[in-house]
């Protein structure tokens, strides 16, 4: 079957990165609050979301009967845990800049910890079904994180517009690791369940949730930005930024949908591991993490 093929294999490991945010301005894409805040929504969704990935994957470990996959999942868990922490650290900085994200993140926390938590369904068969459902939801979300990771690695327009280098490094380090581990979630789903109906169903759930939460987050930021009078976010803004190259194009976003639903889909067909690994070899944060690790050893 073509959708279980092995991709170029890299050993996955968590990199201990750290970023300092003191210098990052509120509108870190200069003069473009909409792009800034649309990307900032990542900081609202990912801390709770990736913590939830880790939480779910810890429970699925006993179902894995393939040692290589288990190793990959363990590496994946560590990388996701670091992503969650790294984005979490941006939130206090936003608060200092006068844009308190707590009303929104408290809802995202509820969403992942309660609504998508362990106790949503009663124990027994229902709960096992729920675990598999969540594993499939993660696979669908990872299709989009790999899509975005691949996009940000190639988003030269952000550099040309003078976007903040620390923020770009966070996004590209994260994006590169997402590309690097893009096959794990899907391979895991195929290994423990793999039903096509479930893939389609959970894709629909995940896609709807992402669109809903993202547009809501962008609106939230635009409306609460202390420097904007009557800040608004609209689909037209998104389309225009896509044309400009500071956000993914609408066409690319639409085209990514049938790819995931295709019977022959495998994440290794998306993005390039070489490019991701090359970025990780040059990312200031990843280099610092490597140096610290060597220094400590």
């Amino acid at each position: 079957m073509s959708n279980t093929q092995a991709s170029e294999r890299v050993a996955l490991k968590a990199r201990k990165v750290s970023f300092s945010w003191e210098e990052t301005p509120l509108h870190w894409v200069p003069g473009d609050p909409f792009t800034t805040h649309t990307i900032n929504v990542l900081h609202l969704l990912l801390p709770a979301g990736e913590r939830w990935f880790v939480h779910v994957y810890k429970q699925v470990l006993p179902y894995i009967r393939d040692d290589r996959l288990r190793e990959d999942v363990i590496g994946f868990i560590g990388q996701e845990a670091m992503h969650s922490q790294a984005h979490d650290e941006v939130l206090p900085h936003l608060r200092e800049l006068g844009l308190d994200p707590t009303p929104y993140t408290a809802q995202v926390d509820w969403f992942f910890e309660k609504l998508l938590g362990d106790r949503t369904l009663p124990p027994g068969r229902a709960r096992r079904w729920w675990l598999m459902e969540r594993v499939a939801i993660i696979a669908a979300i990872e299709h989009y994180t790999a899509f975005l990771g691949n996009w940000v690695l190639n988003a030269g327009e952000l550099d040309r517009r003078g976007a903040d280098p620390t923020m770009l490094d966070l996004l590209r380090w994260h994006g590169a690791e997402e590309v690097e581990h893009r096959s794990v979630a899907f391979d895991l789903f195929m290994h423990v369940d793999g039903s096509y109906r479930r893939r389609v169903r959970t894709w629909a759930t995940a896609f709807a949730a992402i669109v809903f939460l993202w547009q809501r987050g962008a609106r939230f930021f635009m409306e609460n930005d202390p420097t904007l009078i009557d800040g608004k976010a609209s689909f037209k803004d998104l389309y225009v930024r896509g044309r400009r190259g500071t956000l993914p194009t609408t066409g690319d976003m639409i085209k990514s949908i049938p790819r995931y639903l295709s019977h022959s889909y495998h994440p290794s067909q998306e993005g390039s591991t070489e490019q991701a690994v090359a970025y990780l070899a040059s990312s200031p944060a990843a280099i610092a993490a490597l140096a610290a690790e060597k220094g400590a050893a």
Binding site: K58, I74, T105, Q107
Partner: protein, 346 residues
């Protein structure tokens, strides 16, 4: 492919729903998702801070005091220490000896130990004004408890955690301090302490008076007094022999049960007990018994292997957990037992 009619029906329905919801959302933008009462995201962590070495001065023979500046630093209680990440990556603990209310700087003092483990030498030789240092904490393993009276016995640089305690004790509280050192010139903060304590302070300089006569000096220690000792291993052993209840702070980790040796771990939920050898980790031992235990980075930063502690004292070696989390959990990939035995909820 889905039929055109299906697409039209779904799109139409979505538009109707959107219309109906728009009005409601305009009235209260965060409707309809409930919020978690204690949000987890964006909570400030007591993680690594980068502080500027604002001043470096010699406060006694062989003792250097550093003032590290930052913004909105966490407050601390007397007795607390800071983890300093030295330029080489070595991590060393130093007691805070400044003002706990000061949120713009931390003060630590360190003595050069010629044959030490290298940390103090690095502070003395390589840390200069204007540098940035990474610190973690503050954490308190040597807290000032409520007691009717206090006795402090310190040797040399062991004065650093005690000094903020002396300053913090309410006036009128009876206390005594026995402060030993090699020479008066090598004892930091002597002037301030003598002014603060007057005749409650006994200074014993080895070159003038020999070693302190603990039995004589402490003979009249009141029942119920809190006894604190911070100093070299010899002094600590002498105090432990006299006062079993003494509260201790060591310069170097205690070598018998500081987590470097072997210890026992009971996994209560699975009903197993295992031994963690000196050269292995709790995680490795647990994985031998429970192969599906989650872990990832194995270096104490990702947090995947966090487990709840039911009993026992832990030497935390991770870089992630907050003080509150450390009270009842540990990262089993790097942290070890301080006690002979740990009980984990797994």
């Amino acid at each position: 492919m889905p039929k055109l009619r299906t697409v039209v029906v779904v799109a139409g329905a979505a538009m109707l729903v959107r219309r109906a919801m728009r009005h409601r959302i305009q009235a209260s933008p965060l409707w309809p998702i409930p919020a978690l009462e204690n949000p987890t995201s964006g909570r400030p962590r007591s993680r690594a801070l980068r502080l500027l070495v604002a001043s470096r001065e010699t406060v006694a023979d062989g003792v250097v005091q550093l003032r590290l500046e930052g913004r909105d630093l966490p407050r601390w209680e007397p007795g607390a220490h800071l983890d300093l990440v030295l330029p080489s990556g070595l991590v060393r603990q130093y007691s805070l000896c400044g003002d706990p209310e000061d949120t713009s700087s931390y003060t630590v003092a360190t003595r050069l130990i010629e044959d030490g483990r290298g940390g103090s030498r690095e502070v003395h030789e390589q840390v200069a004004e204007g540098m940035e240092l990474e610190v973690r904490g503050p954490r308190n393993r040597f807290p000032l408890v409520d007691a009717p009276s206090y006795v402090f016995v310190v040797g040399g640089i062991g004065i650093t955690p005690v000094l903020p305690m002396l300053r913090a004790l309410p006036g009128g509280t009876p206390w005594r301090l026995v402060y030993g050192g090699r020479t008066r010139a090598s004892m930091p903060f002597l002037e301030e302490i003598e002014k603060l304590g007057g005749d409650r302070v006994t200074v014993v300089a080895e070159d003038e008076d020999g070693l302190p006569d603990l039995d004589g000096l402490l003979a009249d220690t009141a029942e119920g007094a809190a006894v604190y000792c911070c100093g070299p291993e010899g002094l600590i052993a002498a105090m432990e022999a006299r006062f079993p209840q003494v509260r201790l702070e060591r310069f170097t980790p205690h070598t018998s049960a500081d987590g470097n040796g072997a210890f026992e771990v009971e996994l209560r939920r699975s009903g197993r007990t295992l031994t963690v050898p000196a050269d292995s980790t709790v995680l490795a031992a647990v994985r031998a018994e429970l192969p599906n235990t989650a872990y990832s980075c194995e270096q104490g930063f990702c947090g995947t292997c966090q487990q709840r502690i039911l009993e026992g004292e832990v030497e935390h070696r991770d870089e992630l957990l907050t003080d509150a989390e450390r009270a009842d959990s540990m990262l089993i990939c790097v942290s070890r037992a301080r006690s002979e035995r740990l009980v984990l909820d797994m």
